[in-house]
């Protein structure tokens, strides 16, 4: 193992972590407002394909990113309409969203499979900082989306804990009826949170086709959306902890193939199971602990709110 390989491991860890973090932050927002959205994989796929198409057609990566975020938000709003406005079962609607998103992405992208990318978000060069050994390549030569992910993490954390709207949003996830009594629109809060979550999942998908693997093909998201859902549980619905979880899960992704170049004879198949095994373990810990203290999950998560019923 040489120095470049080790640096490469951390570079890949940070970039995979950002991919997972963006999608997980979106899911966290949605769940904090009380709406479970299992459609992350579908929203990522839509973000990935629309970013790629926009990149080819418009040639501007930022426009492509914006379109991907809007598409993700639009798809999420379908889930919002059914679960929040109509009170449909969230698990069923979310799973449908994944299937719908994957299918729609495959359909939209059909003519773009195997095409070279139109544009990409090139890594940012920070004057001076990028040349620092170790720290430079790992933190200061990443795709702009990595910095966006970090900013988003801070923003979500600040909004949720330090603002009135954040408080109202969390309240709508904990106790929708008291939020309603306090004069907030549960419908509006939940719909906005779901749409914002979709936009972040769309950005995560765009990161794939604009930076990580600038090409489109069906199945490009390869299950990363599900890892994002697991990450929210892993991070106990806290933006900071989800961030550390993203680094851990991103690290296992990066390590999966790199262990081989380090000369370690360890099955990459077992490593790729690791995120899911870790999530199961965390679920176990949470459920054992919740006998003594309350679960970190929002109390109203998964329950539709109808004013007359409570």
């Amino acid at each position: 193992m040489n120095e470049a390989s080790l640096i490469g491991l951390f570079v890949a860890t940070v970039s995979f972590a950002a991919l997972l973090y963006l999608a997980a932050l979106g899911e966290l927002l949605s769940e904090k407002a009380g709406v479970l959205n299992l459609g992350v994989e579908g929203m990522m796929a839509i973000g990935a394909v629309t970013a790629f198409i926009a990149g080819v057609e418009l040639g501007n990566p930022w426009a492509a990113l914006a379109i991907a975020m809007m598409s993700g938000a639009a798809l999420a709003s379908v889930h919002g309409f059914f679960t929040v406005a109509l009170g449909a079962e969230q698990v069923v609607s979310g799973l449908s969203l994944t299937i719908l998103g994957l299918g729609l992405a495959a359909y939209l992208g059909k003519d773009y499979v195997g095409q070279p990318h139109g544009t990409e978000l090139v890594p940012v060069e920070w004057a001076g900082l990028s040349d620092i050994p170790w720290v430079g390549p790992i933190f200061f030569s990443q795709s702009p989306i990595v910095y966006i992910a970090i900013l988003m993490g801070v923003a979500v954390s600040v909004v949720l804990t330090n603002t009135r709207i954040g408080l109202a949003l969390r309240a709508s996830g904990e106790s929708a009826s008291s939020t309603d009594s306090a004069g907030h629109s549960v419908l509006g809060l939940r719909l906005s949170a779901v749409a914002a979550g979709g936009a972040l999942a769309g950005a995560s998908g765009a990161y794939l086709t604009l930076s990580l693997t600038p090409q489109w093909a069906e199945g490009l998201t390869a299950g990363r959306g599900w890892i994002a859902v697991a990450l929210v549980i892993f991070g106990a619905w806290k933006p900071g902890r989800v961030g550390w979880g993203a680094i851990l899960f991103g690290g296992t992704l990066a390590l999966k193939t790199r262990l081989q170049t380090f000369g370690v004879d360890f099955s990459p198949i077992i490593l790729s199971m690791l995120p899911y095994v870790l999530t199961l373990l965390i679920l176990l810990v949470i459920s054992v602990r919740s006998r003594k203290r309350p679960s970190p999950a929002p109390a109203g998560l998964g329950f539709p709110y109808r004013r007359e019923e409570r």
Partner: protein
């Protein structure tokens, strides 16, 4: 004179009838349907098959049809095939390994339909055969090109799963590398997926970080090539000419040319003399080939590769010829010994010069 003409006419008409009735003995025209596992635009495996289908349609004049992105291991495959047969298609070509069990059953159910399975190993005595190609031949040639351009002496090989087909390719490639650069080594990274561009690209990055300056691959996406392009390294792709993805990195690629084989199957079905076989076609048969070599590669290297290609086609050069040692230095073939097909088809060891493990 008039009677002679009349007689001649009669013969002609009679012959004409005979021909027509011959045709109608077959009942229906030959129509060939193809079932693909990926989208035809994938620039890789499925794209190459669809090129073959178009070629066969042009050459034989037979009507063809296809359905793309049909997953393995679901009821979809059989449903599509039945649908095609209902529409009068009587040659069914399935292009993915996982279709095999369904094809076995369908071939029994429809004895009048010809079934040909690409990349499988099962067949029957009447209407079901399989086709594959000796991809190790052009892999060897692509290795020669890679060996000639590496400066660091380390070549990365991003590969899906440790199965004989992939291992054979890695070994042939490595032997090709050693033909032009005896000291170069080939480092293998298993991705444990046929298609996950993020992992494929990152695996390429991992060997690039380690100092590799050429990347080869046995995968379905072009992600490895994009990483090579970004790092200023070179790239040997697979399946088809993927130079559009990484114009500066692209060196060459071992490629599939399915057209002539599909023509042969369709013509045999048309003439009613299709007989199933386990077809393992070579570069001499034209089913596998080497894509054009990048223009900046030294002409002397190109000449050497073309010479080797001619020798393989002529049967004078076999990539797996002894003396050949495995990774740990144990002798596999003695001097001058040529590996037989059985040993090649079950190959589960790396040759000397490969870094990595087969398990």
């Amino acid at each position: 004179m008039r009677s002679k003409i009349a007689a001649l006419l009669a013969v002609c008409v009679g012959l004409g009838f005979a021909l027509v009735s011959c045709g109608s003995d077959d009942g229906v025209d030959t129509k060939a349907a193809f079932v693909y596992v990926g989208p035809v635009g994938d620039a890789g495996w499925t794209w190459a098959h669809d090129q073959g289908r178009q070629y066969a349609e042009e050459e034989t004049g037979v009507e063809t049809a296809y359905v793309e992105a049909v997953p393995e291991g679901t009821a979809d495959f059989a449903n599509h095939v039945r649908d095609f047969i209902d529409q009068g298609f009587n040659v069914i070509i399935g292009t993915s390994f996982g279709y095999m069990d369904d094809m076995v059953a369908l071939a029994e159910e429809y004895p009048d339909v010809v079934f040909e399975h690409v990349s499988g190993y099962l067949m029957n005595d009447t209407n079901f055969g399989n086709t594959f190609g000796r991809m190790y031949e052009p892999r060897y040639l692509s290795g020669m090109v890679a060996g000639s351009v590496t400066k660091t002496g380390l070549i990365g090989y991003v590969a899906a799963f440790p199965i004989p087909e992939v291992i054979r390719g890695i070994n042939a490639f490595t032997l090709g590398v050693q033909a032009t650069n005896p000291n170069a080594q080939v480092e293998v990274i298993w991705t444990s997926t046929w298609f996950d561009p993020a992992v494929e690209g990152d695996s390429a990055q991992a060997v690039l970080d380690k100092g590799a300056d050429v990347i080869a691959m046995h995968q379905d996406s072009a992600a490895a090539g994009e990483k090579a392009e970004a790092a200023g390294a070179r790239w040997v792709s697979y399946n088809s000419d993927m130079s559009a993805f990484a114009p500066n990195a692209f060196l060459t690629a071992p490629v599939w040319t399915w057209g002539p084989r599909y023509v042969a199957i369709i013509e045999a079905a048309q003439d009613g003399n299709y007989s199933p076989s386990s077809y393992w076609g070579s570069m001499a048969d034209g089913i596998v080939d080497l894509a054009p070599i990048a223009s900046d590669v030294d002409q002397s290297v190109v000449d050497m590769v073309m010479e080797a290609k001619a020798a393989i086609i002529a049967g004078d050069l076999h990539p797996f010829t002894g003396p050949l040692n495995d990774q740990d230095g144990n002798q596999v073939l003695g001097a001058g010994e040529v590996m037989d097909d059985g040993a090649m088809l079950g190959m589960m060891f790396f040759v000397e010069g490969v870094i990595g493990s087969t398990g």
